[in-house]
């Protein structure tokens, strides 16, 4: 029932029979197989006899039949003697569908349209390719999330290759910017362009990453901070080949670092201005860390065991240390207490006494046990001295007020009483001369008291000037 294909008897040692890939010859008019090799029989699961009884449509998934029809329709437009490559799907006898890379060539024949086909199973290649695409997509997504771009440039070329994310970091679409060296220099911040105009090779060692942080000008004119990790790559014979690197947008981190720096500077200045000392007591290790800002704005930090003879507590005035120590631990034992305050004196190395106020916050565990105490000690010597001065002033003012209200006003009211008496009774009760005599005496008393006030005032002023001078 099938035509005999005697004209395709091939020698046993023909390459057709020993090819590692399935091969066949078919009739393009009937789509019937005329000859198949051993590898086709092995891979597709059909015996040679079965192959010769089926058509090309039988080794195609149903949904791909139209692809085959189109290929057959255009078969005569192919150049003779040239193997055409196509990627299609084939179906084995057991129904397994797999990707195939086809190469075919028309065979000259005066009666029929014959074609020789080589079919290469690319299942593994396709899986590798799919995995590569998946991996590449993931890498792109990761780069985008991390704002991390990649670039490379051959040392003998002016043009760099940029990844999509690198374009994105600079604010450009890939088609709208050509990363020539000149263009890249222009998108660097003017103050950072020396990084490119200097000879990079002076800074790079083969295989070692070099890191740079600098600013760039993006497409919309804004300034961004980036970090670049660059390395020099050698070729197979040890010569320099190309440089490659990653670029990461670190603008947010730089802004945060700047804010942190400003905040630290403010904090240091505030500490310096308020003459404060910060301390941090770790109850677990029984160690205390204390720091203060010294005159040049530098922070001085000391960490040591928390004992009475530590460098700090050892400075507390001997008359105050036991009270301070006991009071502090009493407050710690109160599990409801979170804030505390202590006042005491420090005796400095030069012998001077300073008054301080120590306020602190206690961090406690679930059972209320103290874990950490953070405090701030402020030198209140000046404030305290001013308060003492104010108290002394108040005492003087009270003395003066008393003198005015009693000692001065007493003889004054006597004069007023005498004049009232004289006005109402004339010399009936007291003679004019006696009245004048008593008034003179009262006036002398007033004068004495006024001298007394002046003396007190001068003494106070002298004391104050003495205090200021000290």
């Amino acid at each position: 029932m099938f035509p005999q294909q005697t004209n395709f008897e091939l020698p046993e040692d023909c390459i057709f029979n020993f090819s590692p890939h399935p091969m066949w010859i078919y009739d393009a008019d009937t789509l019937r197989f005329l000859k198949v090799n051993h590898e086709a029989v092995r891979q597709y699961g059909y015996s040679e006899k079965e192959f010769l009884s089926i058509t090309l449509e039988d080794i195609r998934p149903k949904e791909d039949i139209h692809v085959l029809s189109n290929a057959i329709k255009n078969i005569h437009q192919r150049d003779e003697g040239y193997f055409k490559k196509r990627l299609v799907r084939h179906k084995k006898k057991d129904g397994t569908v797999f990707p195939v890379h086809l190469k075919s060539n028309l065979i000259p024949d005066k009666d029929k349209t014959l074609e020789l086909v080589i079919a290469m199973d690319i299942t593994e290649l396709k899986e590798s390719e799919d995995l590569l695409i998946l991996s590449n997509n993931r890498l792109n997504r990761a780069q985008r999330i991390a704002k991390l771009g990649y670039w490379r440039r051959n040392l003998n070329s002016d043009l760099s290759e940029w990844s999509d994310e690198t374009f994105r970091i600079y604010g450009y679409e890939p088609h709208s910017f050509t990363p020539t060296l000149k263009n890249v220099i222009n998108v660097f911040h003017p103050e950072d362009r020396h990084l490119l105009t200097d000879d990079l090779l002076d800074h790079l060692e083969p295989g070692k990453l070099k890191s740079f942080e600098h600013r760039i000008l993006t497409a919309n004119g804004s300034i961004r901070w980036v970090q670049q990790e660059i390395q020099l790559i050698l070729n197979d014979i040890g010569g320099t080949s190309h440089i490659e690197g990653t670029i990461m947008d670190i603008t947010e981190r730089k802004e945060y670092e700047q804010k942190l720096k400003e905040s630290n500077e403010r904090f240091s200045l505030a500490m310096l201005a308020s003459n404060q000392k910060i301390w941090d007591l770790d109850h677990g290790n029984n160690t205390i860390l204390h720091s203060k800002i010294i005159c040049d704005g530098q922070e001085q930090i000391v960490k040591e065991p928390f004992t009475k003879d530590s460098s700090w507590l050892g400075k507390i005035h001997p008359d105050d240390i036991d009270r301070v120590w006991d009071s502090f631990f009493q407050q710690l034992e109160n599990r409801e207490m979170s804030h505390g305050k202590l006042e005491y004196r420090l005796r400095l190395e030069n012998g001077t006494i300073r008054y301080v106020t120590d306020t602190y916050y206690v961090q406690r565990g679930a059972q209320g046990e103290p874990i950490r105490t953070i405090g701030s000690m402020t030198d209140v010597t000046v404030t305290r001295k001013q308060l003492e001065k104010i108290k002394a002033h108040n005492t003087v003012l009270q003395d003066i007020a008393w003198l005015q209200s009693h000692a001065i006003r007493s003889p004054l009211t006597r004069i007023m009483a005498l004049t009232n008496l004289y006005r109402s009774k004339g010399e009936e009760i007291m003679s004019f001369d006696r009245t004048i005599q008593l008034i003179d005496k009262a006036v002398a008393e007033i004068d004495d008291q006024l001298h007394q006030i002046i003396k007190i005032t001068n003494t106070d002023n002298n004391n104050e000037q003495g205090n200021i001078a000290s």
């Binding site: 008393w402 209200s405 007493s410 009211t413 006597r414 008496l421 109402s424």
Partner: protein, 129 residues
């Protein structure tokens, strides 16, 4: 009931002038002079049957006006006494402090105002102190 006016002040001239004014306004009411709070208090405690109108200075030697008031504070029920502070002090603090003593009826500033004095003495005479 025996009534007496006590002038308690260490200033002799003030006592003399005030005594003169009172005698001329209300002759017949005995007036006694004391130069500190201590002697005045002793006299009062020895004569609890008498009815006293006291004009009390604050700033005095031996026993001040304040000490005098404090000493008599717990004896109000035993005594018939009305005390008017008569002082040269114009310190509002003294006036506020005086108001805390129940025995004190008023706070007068020297020199003694005759109109105010007449008001106080009229009241006493009317009530037949």
């Amino acid at each position: 009931m025996n009534k007496e006016i006590l002038l308690v002040d260490d200033d002799a001239v003030t006592n003399f002038v005030n005594q003169t004014i009172m005698e001329s306004k209300f002759p017949g009411i005995p007036i006694k002079l004391f130069y500190n709070g201590s002697v005045a208090m002793q006299y009062i405690l020895k004569n609890t049957d008498k009815n006293f109108l006291v004009f009390l200075d604050l700033n005095m030697p031996v026993m001040s006006g304040w000490e005098f008031l404090k000493a008599l504070e717990g004896k109000k029920a035993e005594l018939n006494i009305e005390i008017h502070i008569l002082t040269s002090s114009i310190d509002p603090g003294d006036q506020e402090h005086a108001a805390k003593f129940p025995l004190v009826s008023s706070f007068l500033v020297k020199p003694l105002d005759e109109t105010i004095l007449e008001g106080i003495l009229h009241k006493i005479v009317k009530n037949k102190m």
